[in-house]
Symmetry: C2
């Protein structure tokens, strides 16, 4: 269940990184496993309803619920769910949570009313505005903005059972129709618990500045753990900037995969001519292609478009791109040395490039876990292409390729030797 907090602008429709806040909220909970959504609408509800209809058409089970009392307080929006669900989650479109944070919360709530709380209070943005929580064990004993003593901060992500409806009504009778007042009633009865936030970001973005911080946090969460050295320190920094821009357009990640592949091929072909200026240009282009090769995955993750097919296609095309690069760099070396040995070394290099990845995949299939090995950073695509790029600037693309290929083979051999019983 989702609930819109109303402000001067139509917040659910504000765009951030290619998605409206409403889309991002729904899709991030959908990704975490939630399959049914309610959007409680009040302020400029026709616009919001139209947008919800668009989301619905993309296959998400989402309904709108009118709340004509929205001006009284956001507790009325939770009341609007009554009769529809007996247990539900509540969040606001301007609250952002990292995927793992949502997943952990969803998987760990039981049947009790639960609030996701952040105990690292000194790391919370704008602590003055935050709702504080006093805990006794996991039970919430007091909650409010003005608490002097507190153990944690309210993140704005709730799990409720039907007890919340009565609590909100009691608070309304006392003249306060806010959800916070209802939650305070639950706390007074000892009927709400805190679940500690797992490692990962969350932010309540009330202002435009906080929205920019949210954007940064989202972008920062995108890179993969397995990123190699060059990828982490160089490629990602550039590709994230490109992705941030690209995600505003309706470009599919698979199209970017293919464009990056074609760019790599175009660059590789320039190695064919053998003149320094072409070779250097080839190096620059393949390095550029290597950078934008990160954008497909980034945009997929930013816009919740990840697919098994996309990941498969990307990996296969990467290997084909590597092979085409290897053959043209080898030809480039042949033009210089005119020795048949060059071709043997070319095979040696191509083999290294594919096998480095193959060996890791095969390990994962056989052992059912990733191959954890620090030296693997020396046999990944980022460093492979970066080496050839640097080599090409010195008109030594072939030599650099063979050197990095040798390193790849050594890494494969060490990985194999290490895991012998």
């Amino acid at each position: 269940a989702g609930e819109g907090r109303r402000m001067g602008e139509v917040k659910p429709l504000v765009k951030l990184l290619g998605l409206t806040l409403l889309e991002r909220t729904i899709l991030s909970f959908n990704e975490a496993g939630i399959r049914k959504f309610y959007v409680v609408v009040g302020y400029r509800k026709e616009e919001v309803k139209k947008h919800v209809e668009e989301i619905r058409k993309r296959g998400i089970d989402v309904e709108t619920i009118d709340n004509d009392n929205w001006k009284k307080g956001n507790g009325t929006s939770v009341l609007a769910v009554r009769g529809r669900e007996k247990k539900f989650f509540v969040t606001m479109v301007d609250h952002f949570f990292e995927k793992d944070v949502i997943k952990d919360f969803i998987e760990n709530v039981g049947r009790r009313n639960t609030l996701l709380v952040d105990k690292e209070v000194n790391r919370v943005f704008n602590i003055h505005e935050a709702t504080k929580v006093k805990l006794k064990g996991s039970k919430i004993i007091d909650i409010g903005k003005e608490l002097k003593e507190y153990d944690a901060v309210d993140t704005g992500l709730f799990f409720f059972n039907e007890e919340i409806f009565e609590a909100i009504e009691e608070a309304m009778e006392e003249g306060n129709a806010s959800l916070a007042a209802g939650v305070k009633k639950l706390a007074e009865k000892g009927k709400i618990y805190g679940h500690e936030k797992k490692r990962g970001y969350w932010i309540d973005a009330d202002t435009k500045e906080e929205l920019r911080i949210a954007e940064k946090l989202i972008l920062k969460s995108i890179p993969k753990k397995e990123d190699g050295i060059i990828s982490f320190n160089l490629n990602r920094k550039v590709s994230l900037k490109i992705s941030k821009w690209l995600c505003n357009f309706n470009i599919s990640p698979n199209l970017i995969t293919i464009l990056s592949f074609l760019t790599a091929i175009a660059g590789s072909i320039l190695f064919y001519f053998g003149k320094y200026v072409y070779t250097a240009l080839a190096g620059i282009i393949i390095q550029f292609a290597s950078i934008i090769d990160g954008c497909d995955g980034e945009i997929a993750r930013l816009k919740f478009l990840s697919s098994s097919y996309g990941a498969w296609l990307d990996t296969i095309l990467d290997r084909y791109a590597d092979a085409i690069m290897a053959v043209f760099v080898t030809y480039n070396g042949w033009l210089i040395y005119r020795s048949i040995i060059i071709w043997f070394l070319g095979f040696f290099s191509l083999l290294a490039f594919i096998m480095a990845s193959y060996s890791r995949k095969e390990y994962e299939l056989r052992y059912n876990k990733k191959l954890e090995s620090k030296i693997d950073n020396l046999s990944k695509r980022d460093i492979r292409i970066f080496s050839i790029f640097i080599g090409s600037l010195f008109n030594k693309a072939f030599e650099f390729m063979v050197a990095i290929a040798m390193l790849h083979h050594i890494v494969i051999a060490i990985d194999l030797a290490r895991r012998r019983k």
Copy 2:
């Protein structure tokens, strides 16, 4: 719990396909998930105990139990377990079951006494000697060799709770100390059930002839479902014969992996000379290496030595062998055509050989299931090497290699295109 049936020879110590019958019984149940074994010994027990000690040293939790009453009947051997276990499986060393049959039985017994029964009575070897079972629903209502009307046959694999002890004692009081008599007592009380055998072989091998049949059934169960056309129709037939012989020696599967790899390299190098007789010989040797490449897995499965590491090593070395073959076959083509195009086509071929396998592995990782595709038979190692072998006989190894490589790339492209949403 295991129980030895005694005959003129020391049956547990009889060797079959590199293992004693006792080893095979224990290891096949260990593979299916059983972790604690009792071997009830009577006849020539010191020899059996010594052998059990050897098995124990290999890390299997197995104990012997003396049964000095063994001559009275095999029910006494089950009684010997009393006080040690309250629920246990019973089988005999001369009963053989396919892995999936054991697994299915183990996973599906509850707390009730259960006998694995075979309802395909007309397919049972030596039905006259078999113990027949009359069922009512899943309950066993009568059991014995002389039954005129029956629904199934006793396979000799039991699961018992403590009720069996009393039943055997009752039968003993009536003068029959056989397990069959005890089971009949259980059946009379309605306290034993039949579990229908899953698809897969089982055999009770009382005679030397039946032991040869058991050997054949075991060998027949070894080939993998994913075997390609050439592998299924040619390579396996030869490799199983070699494995049947090799498994009598103390050779590790990984050693065979390495020997097959070295054989493939030796064969590949012969392509370097360019003379027909060398080329043809090279083709024969790589085809031979391709055949013995099956033996490592076969021996691992025959002797319960399968390991993740072995599978990983085998796959990586196969790819390296393919690459070395590709480079020498390309050189062979270069000697004939002396055109640089040959080297480009060589890269094209090497890429195909590795990517055919890579694409399948990557699919499996991304989709968490195997890529089911009939055309994949055209891009497997067996057909790849067989094509080059045939080509080399016509002194056209390079041409055949490029042709099969082209086929590989087409298969990869079709697989990718088909799975697009």
